[in-house]
């Protein structure tokens, strides 16, 4: 019998199962609040595990991690405010579906595909960990640099309308990300006020860029109240059939999520975006993406959650946290005297397998709880818009402040938000801008870091352009750009055809 099944019983011990249910339900709610990222949620709960047995404590942390990632989709879909950077791609089609009255359907699809991606990710963690750990170690600065550039090519897909404006917004994002103290060079950049010394954290930026323009629009549209959308009923059976009919999208989402989750340093934040872009390129109806296409939502959510399991591979086998959330989980493991490393599964089989099993059962539980809450959650958008706007602003300020206990972050959020509202009027999107903020540092830091290493070795050109992995990544970049160009040309031809017909 495989070991993970052997320890499965531990998850269903009454106390452990209670912890699992509470962790999952709490995680869904925390994930749904804008500004409360999975990293924060796990960090908040570590002190609670001090008095639990190691297994129960880890069940709590594992279930909260999986559920917050999935819960982040709720505010992304209903309010167009991504709960965490991972949910940016979820907003594109998810929120359009809400505006079309398909809120219940969007939430159902999101939870189902989250569950499928999540379970696949944990299975990869269970069966392929030792092989993958070696592979993850081989990823150096040059490879991370090219991965970030690959992420930039996604912008063409995000900018509905103008690719040039999308790229311009991406550049603005990259500039914003360079503000503050740079630890590699040990210098302060663009920090003309002390509010900017700490740089621009991704969560305040995300909340500001997405939530604030939304709130201003809500108030401008209906100062006296009133709500836009209706919520049409949608049966679970239909949602299941829809997901089952999209094996290609589920496949793309899972593969992208697993690979990006494994790469330490990419952090999984771009998994949803890359999967969204790929699924659009492989789709027979790419022009429906961004206009309420269920497959776009499915791709993004599968990838987000597929990333969770593999992102723990470097942590569990090498004791190296590959993402901020994994770093927090490392603290949670250490406090119970559990040292992750190559012999973790031999020295603490019970704790480590129970932890992984809890994540597996947690995924299923998350789907069940999420689906049960769907209809209730969807009703949030029936609230009069002025109340909704007030609630969103409260959550935005609260979420932003709580990330680093910093008033500066609240100011940054407000300023970025107001700026974004103006930019949106001129056709610039928040998506490409945030992508720039996320990818800018990955590209820059790894370029500078890699260059320092390369200059001491064989030189910059062979370091960045030589080697099988570099060449493979560069080929993917070329393919991605060519794919975007072909899509663009097809779309133009289509439009011309339509004009000719009319």
């Amino acid at each position: 019998m495989p070991e993970f099944l052997h320890y499965m019983g531990n998850v269903f011990v009454p106390f452990n199962f209670l912890v699992l249910i509470l962790g999952t339900a709490g995680g869904l709610i925390m994930g749904a609040l804008p500004g409360l990222s999975p990293t924060m949620a796990v960090a908040l709960l570590i002190p609670f595990t001090f008095h639990m047995s190691p297994a129960s404590g880890l069940i709590l942390l594992g279930s909260v991690y999986t559920a917050t990632v999935a819960g982040g989709a709720v505010s992304a879909i209903l309010l167009r405010i991504p709960g965490a950077p991972a949910n940016i791609a979820t907003t594109f089609d998810g929120h359009r579906m809400v505006q079309q009255g398909r809120a219940a359907q969007a939430l159902q699809l999101s939870f189902l595909s989250s569950g499928i991606g999540g379970v696949l990710g944990v299975l990869v963690l269970i069966f392929f960990t030792p092989v993958l750990a070696k592979w993850a170690l081989g990823f150096g600065p040059s490879h991370l640099f090219w991965t970030a550039v690959l992420g930039v090519t996604v912008i063409a897909s995000l900018a509905s309308g103008s690719v040039v404006k999308g790229l311009a917004a991406g550049c603005m994002g990259m500039w914003i990300s360079s503000i503050g103290y740079d630890g590699v060079q040990g210098v302060h950049r663009f920090a003309f006020t002390s509010h900017l010394d700490g740089g621009i954290h991704i969560i305040p930026a995300l909340v500001g860029l997405f939530a604030v323009p939304q709130v201003i629009d809500m108030l401008a549209r209906s100062p006296g109240g009133g709500s836009v959308a209706a919520v049409l009923r949608h049966s679970l059976w239909q949602a299941l059939r829809q997901v089952a009919r999209a094996p290609r999208t589920l496949g793309i989402g899972s593969v992208v999520g697993v690979i990006i989750g494994l790469v330490p340093g990419a952090g999984g934040q771009i998994a949803g975006l890359v999967a969204y872009d790929q699924s659009r390129k492989f789709s027979r109806t790419p022009h429906t993406y961004g206009k309420g296409e269920p497959e776009g939502l499915i791709a993004a959510e599968t990838a987000n959650n597929a990333m969770v399991g593999p992102s723990l591979v470097p942590l569990l086998t090498l004791s190296i946290p590959g993402s901020p959330t994994a770093a927090v989980l490392l603290g949670g493991l250490l406090i119970h005297g559990i040292f992750p490393g190559p012999d973790l599964f031999e020295s603490h089989p019970e704790v480590s397998w129970t932890f992984i099993d809890a994540m597996l059962v947690g995924q299923v539980l998350m789907v069940a709880l999420g689906l049960a809450l769907c209809r209730l959650a969807a009703r949030v958008i029936l609230l009069p818009e002025n109340y909704l706007a007030a609630a969103v602003i409260v959550l935005a300020v609260f979420g932003t402040y709580s990330v680093q206990h910093s008033y500066s972050d609240v100011l940054i959020m407000a300023v970025l938000g107001a700026g974004m509202w103006v930019l949106e009027k001129y056709g610039f999107g928040a998506g490409p801008l945030v992508l720039g903020i996320v990818l800018g540092p990955i590209a820059e830091e790894n370029f500078v870091y890699g260059r320092t290493i390369a200059q001491a070795g064989d030189g910059v050109l062979p370091y960045f352009f030589g080697g099988a992995l570099n060449i493979a990544l560069m080929s993917l970049i070329v393919l991605s750009i060519v794919g975007s160009v072909i899509l663009e040309m097809k779309a133009r031809r289509r439009e011309r055809g339509r004009e000719a017909a009319s």
Binding site: T39, L137, G140, G183, H201, G331, H405, Y449
Partner: protein, 329 residues
């Protein structure tokens, strides 16, 4: 078993909360009469945060402070944001304390005189809880087996030896500067953008030839790397077989050791500082809970009193000013 423990801690917390409400009425003049905050200039879940939470968890006991301590994380700019905020905003009333990291905060105060508002003169040391020396590491399959091998290679290939670490002006960087100065060899320091964990990974993966990293982290990863030397005055109990750099004829002292402890803003009343200086080390030395948890977590405990910490700060200040001259902004 678990349920009982949790119930007990809930009960304890309730009583503590109730006492916190009642206490001011009874002994308004007594310090402390309400919970005490400790600012940590690094993120939740990091090594400093994690250790700060362990060493302060017993503070509510009457023998120690009689009031609980809560942690406030203010990360950003390698700690500069949290500490700047602390010296400019914290009230010197004994209820707002902070965790320090030496040599980081001293090195930053020397390197960025315009940006950094803190220095050893506007902060009051209370007590030290931990010391994490830097260790010199190489990948498992590396041809180098001792610090001397590395030095020999660096002499034969000036600038070709890449050594990484968590960033600039942190313990690892100081250890590198000392190592380079003591050997006179030319080598390249590669600060990692994502801190110590990322740097450790890149040594394992062979992206760089060597690295200086935290002893506590390298200790956990011994299966995937070779630890060649400890940058401290004595060998460490966690790695008794690893010699110090001095033993290998390289004159590097303990200036890069990452010391962690608690400090107050300057201007805190002397009687409060005296009270804290007496009770806090006792709290850090709690054998049953604190010492055990620190050991379980692989975090080296080293308790130093106020006078020892003050002396250590001054010594570092003088030494680092000299070492960093010419490297600053």
């Amino acid at each position: 078993m678990n349920c009982m423990l949790i119930l007990r801690s809930i009960l304890a917390a309730t009583i503590a909360a109730a006492l916190a409400v009642v206490a001011p009425l009874a002994t308004a003049a007594e310090y402390p009469d309400r919970p005490i905050g400790v600012t940590v200039a690094y993120g939740a879940g990091g090594a400093t945060d994690f250790q700060a939470r362990i060493v302060t968890m017993m503070s509510a006991q009457e023998d120690y402070l009689g009031q609980p301590i809560y942690i406030v994380n203010k990360p950003g700019a390698g700690g500069q944001r949290g500490w700047n905020d602390f010296v400019t905003r914290a009230k010197p009333d004994g209820y707002e304390l902070a965790a320090y990291n030496v040599p980081h905060f001293i090195a930053q105060s020397i390197a960025f005189p315009d940006k950094v508002k803190y220095n050893i003169d506007n902060l009051e040391p209370i007590a030290n809880w931990g010391a994490d020396p830097a260790v010199l590491i190489v990948p498992n399959d590396s041809p180098f087996d001792s610090a001397a091998d590395l030095v020999e290679y660096a002499r034969g290939n000036p600038g070709k030896l890449t050594v990484n670490g968590a960033g600039k002006f942190v313990g690892h960087h100081i250890a590198f500067l000392q190592f380079a100065k003591a050997t006179g060899a030319e080598m390249t320091y590669v600060p990692h953008p994502k801190g110590g964990a990322g740097a450790l990974k890149d040594v394992m993966g062979g992206q760089v030839k060597a690295g200086f990293n935290n002893l506590s982290d390298a200790f956990r990863s011994q299966a995937n790397l070779k630890v060649l030397a400890v940058a401290d005055l004595e060998r460490h109990e966690f790695l008794p077989d690893v010699p110090t750099l001095r033993e290998q004829g390289i004159d590097v002292d303990d200036s890069s050791v990452n010391f962690r402890g608690i400090m107050a803003p300057a201007g805190t009343p002397p009687e409060i500082v005296a009270f804290l200086a007496e009770r806090v080390p006792e709290m850090f030395n709690n054998k049953r809970r604190v010492a055990k948890k620190m050991k379980d977590g692989g975090s080296p405990l080293r308790v130093l009193g106020r006078d020892e910490v003050a002396a250590m700060w001054r010594e570092r200040q003088t030494y680092l000013t000299d070492l960093l001259a010419g490297l600053t902004e």
